[in-house]
Each structure stands twice: as structure tokens, then as C-alpha cells.
């Protein structure tokens, strides 16, 4: 239903959508009932010539049940929402499915940088793939991410994945996503982080394994590799020479 307006591109996007739909339906139903009742009572008991106003205390059982019965039903609805929400939250935030790939997401004023461990599967080695503003991932692959900030509080939000997680300086926050649809999706910082906050955007490119391999090859082609080697030769020890791919926005 929501997909007409915003694409659902991760495996848990539908769980979030269904939760929102449930909340909207239950709250919306009671809003309509309450407002309908209010206006109906205003109309029914409007001022009329020769009809005196009734003064009621609301203590009689037949009057009190107009409050108590909806009250209990609404509490029941609340319990349904809470149980459903906790279930969704548990499966997305508390259960970490086994990782098929990893990515380090680094926020800073005002850019998103990404580090993937490369073929050896280990971070901070020479085959790491580092990109700025653009993350390339493979569809139907479970990614575990390490989210961190270099300076202030940011929030890593990918609306198409229904993913939003704050990044806190000094902390590494773990999470996961599994892209389910090929395409290019927006990333936006959703935590006010300074004058350039609105410009702190990026994108996630979800590719098929073949597309991803081609992208890797393009960025590690002999020409690129030669340039990288030349750069490495020039770079000082401990520098930024381990980059295979430095993709720009």
C-alpha cells in the first residue's frame, strides 16, 4: 500500500509499514468514532425552544458505560499496538541475523563514508573498499553494519529500507539490513547536526551480484589499480593508501 508513495527495498520494510498501518487504522477509527460522537451529541442536544437543559452527574451505570466500555476497548487496542510494536522492534533491533557481508558506516559533518572489508572479509586491511557518499550493496544479502560518528550526533536514515539509527560519537552501534530490491535509494541525516545538516545526504546502490562485481572491477581495473599503486608509492606510511575505490558523489 505504502509502496505507491515510497519504495520498500529491505526485508523488514513491510513489517514497519504494517505496524504503521495498524496504528493508523486503530487510532484513526477511534478518532472518527470520538469526533462523530461529539458532533452527534452537539447536534442532538442543541438548544431548542421550550426544552430545559438536563443536568447530569454521570454517576449512573447507564451513563458511565459510555465512558468505561470505549475506555477498555481502547486499552485493548493499545495492548495490541504495544505487543505488535515490540515484536517488530525485537526482530529488527534485537535479533541480529547472521551476516553475509559487513559495512562500516561513518557519519561526520557533513558526509557519510562507508568502509567494506573487501574479499578478505576483514576491516582495516589493504583490500578495503572505501567510498564517500555512496554505498554499493548486493541485493538479497544480509549486511551487518557498524555505525559511528566522527564528531557530533547524526542519524543514518534510509527511508526505502525503513531504517533509521542514530550515530553517537564515541560509540559503535551495530545493526543490519537486507536489501530486497535493486535500485538507488536516498540516505539522509535526520538528526540536526550543524549548518550543513540538510546537505548531509548520500545514496545506497543495491545491485545484483553481477552488477556489483562489475562495479568492483571498474574500480579495481588495471588502470585504476595502476593509479592506486602509483598513489600508494607516493603515500606516506600509515596514510590513506589502502583505498581500492574512492567513489565520489
Amino acid at each position: 500500500m505504502w509502496e505507491r508513495y515510497i519504495t520498500a527495498a529491505s526485508t523488514y520494510a513491510h513489517s514497519i509499514d504494517h505496524l504503521f498501518l495498524l496504528i493508523a487504522a486503530l487510532v484513526g477509527f477511534w478518532l472518527l468514532v470520538a469526533e462523530g460522537m461529539l458532533f452527534w451529541l452537539v447536534f442532538k442536544f442543541r438548544a431548542r425552544d421550550g426544552r430545559p437543559t438536563q443536568y447530569i452527574t454521570g454517576e449512573e451505570p447507564h451513563l458511565k458505560r459510555w465512558i468505561s466500555i470505549p475506555h477498555f476497548i481502547i486499552i485493548l487496542c493499545d495492548v495490541v499496538i504495544i505487543v505488535w510494536a515490540i515484536t517488530v522492534w525485537y526482530h529488527i533491533k534485537q535479533v541480529m541475523p547472521p551476516a553475509e557481508a559487513s559495512v562500516r558506516v561513518i557519519g561526520q559533518q557533513w558526509a557519510w563514508s562507508f568502509q567494506q572489508p573487501g574479499p578478505d572479509g576483514v576491516f582495516d586491511t589493504t583490500d578495503d573498499i572505501r567510498t564517500v557518499g555512496e554505498l554499493h550493496v548486493v541485493v538479497d544479502t544480509t549486511y551487518q553494519f557498524e555505525l559511528m560518528s566522527r564528531d557530533v550526533v547524526h542519524s543514518f536514515a534510509v527511508p526505502a529500507f525503513r531504517l533509521k539509527q542514530d550515530a553517537l560519537p564515541g560509540r559503535v552501534i551495530n545493526g543490519w539490513f537486507r536489501p530486497s530490491r535493486v535500485g538507488t535509494y536516498d540516505i539522509q541525516c535526520t538528526q540536526m547536526c550543524g549548518i550543513g545538516h540538510a546537505l548531509m545526504a548520500g545514496r545506497i546502490v543495491v545491485e545484483t551480484p553481477q552488477q556489483h562485481a562489475a562495479w568492483l572491477l571498474r574500480n579495481t581495473s588495471p588502470a585504476s589499480a595502476a593509479a592506486a599503486t602509483q598513489d600508494s608509492a607516493l603515500a606516506a606510511p600509515g596514510g590513506d593508501s589502502s583505498t581500492i575505490a574512492e567513489v565520489r558523489r
Binding site: A111, T131, G133, D151, G239, S241, R249
Partner: protein
Amino acid sequence: MRIVQTLVPRWLQFWPLLILAGSSSLSGCRFGAADPAARGQEVFQTCVPCHNADGSGNPAVGAPNIAGMKSWYVEKQLEKFREGVRGMQFNDVEGLRMGPMAQSLESDDDVKAVARYVESLPPVRHAASLTGDAQAGQALFATCGACHGENGAGNPDLKAPRLAGVDDWYLATELRKFRSGVRGASPKDMEGRLMRPMARTLPNEDAIRNVVAYVETLKP
């Protein structure tokens, strides 16, 4: 009043409200100054949070002292930031901060206007913040002098900026970035790629501090 009600369609009789709503909306709009000098000052407000109103910079956020910097150099660097030629490297923390700011400039005219405004700011000198052997640095500076001039005044023909008067912490930071490839790695950054091997002639951190200490002795 009755004539108005008779002649004007009913939905248009709310025109005072329409005018009020329209003027309220327009009050939120900002129109840029036509005069380039005024426009430059206006655009510079984007730079103020990091570089300060007088352009004196802020080492805490890695923002250099740009007061009085030559407009050709400011313009060139802004273009590089806008095109992602500079400031898009994974480890370039300050550059990544500057990139979006430069990209927020609306037009080439704005770039020119703000560059001229930066040049018009009275230069600000800061005391040295690093320690180094200026005498030892003088010999190392011979390499730099080939492009930047013996007195560090810069050479626009070689796209070499003025070094004299630039804060020492900033010079040291940029030299480190050039050495490690954080700056000057892009194939499109011609000047940066020239600068990288030059920076590599400085063998270690002491050499960086020494050459920077010597630059601090030069008169801007």
C-alpha cells in the same frame, strides 16, 4: 460594499485574506543582492560558522584563516570542492565538511563574489602554534620556493598559493594530507597531484614542523 458583494464572485471576496497569505509567504523569501560586493558578503554568511566573520578561521574545526586570501586561489579551491575534486577523500575530515558548503553555493557568480569578498577582508596574523627549527626548515623550503616563491608570496601563473602568513597548524595539516594521499589524489586535481611528490620530499614529521616554522618567519 453591497456592490462588491454583487459584482465580485463569492470566492474572490476573500481577497484581503489572499493578500495577507501571499505577503506572509513572500516575507519568508530571500532575494540575493544584485551588487557583487554585497552579494559576496551575503554569501560569506555561510562561511562564518567555521571561518568566523573576519575570516580568521578556527583550528578547533580545522577551518583555516582565509582573511585576505587571493581571490583566484579561493575561487579555484571552491571549484574543486564543488566538483568533488577536493574534499571527497575518506579520511579528509575537514574537506568532507567543506565540500557540502561549497556545493551549497548557488552559482559561479556566487563563487566569484565570495572569493572577492574573502580577498577584501583585512589579513589576520596568528602567533605560531607549533615548534620547529626554522633554520633547518629554510633548506627544506628551497623545494617549495620553486613554485611558491622565495618569500612564499605565491605564484598565480603556477597556481601556487601564498604561504607567508598562513597559519602553521594549517600548513602542517595540509602537508600531512598531501603526503598520505588524502589530498591531491584525484586525477582531476592537477595542482594537488603536483604537490603530492613535493610534500613527499619531507621525510618525517620533524621536517614538516621545521619547514612550517621557516614559513612562519616569512613576511606576508
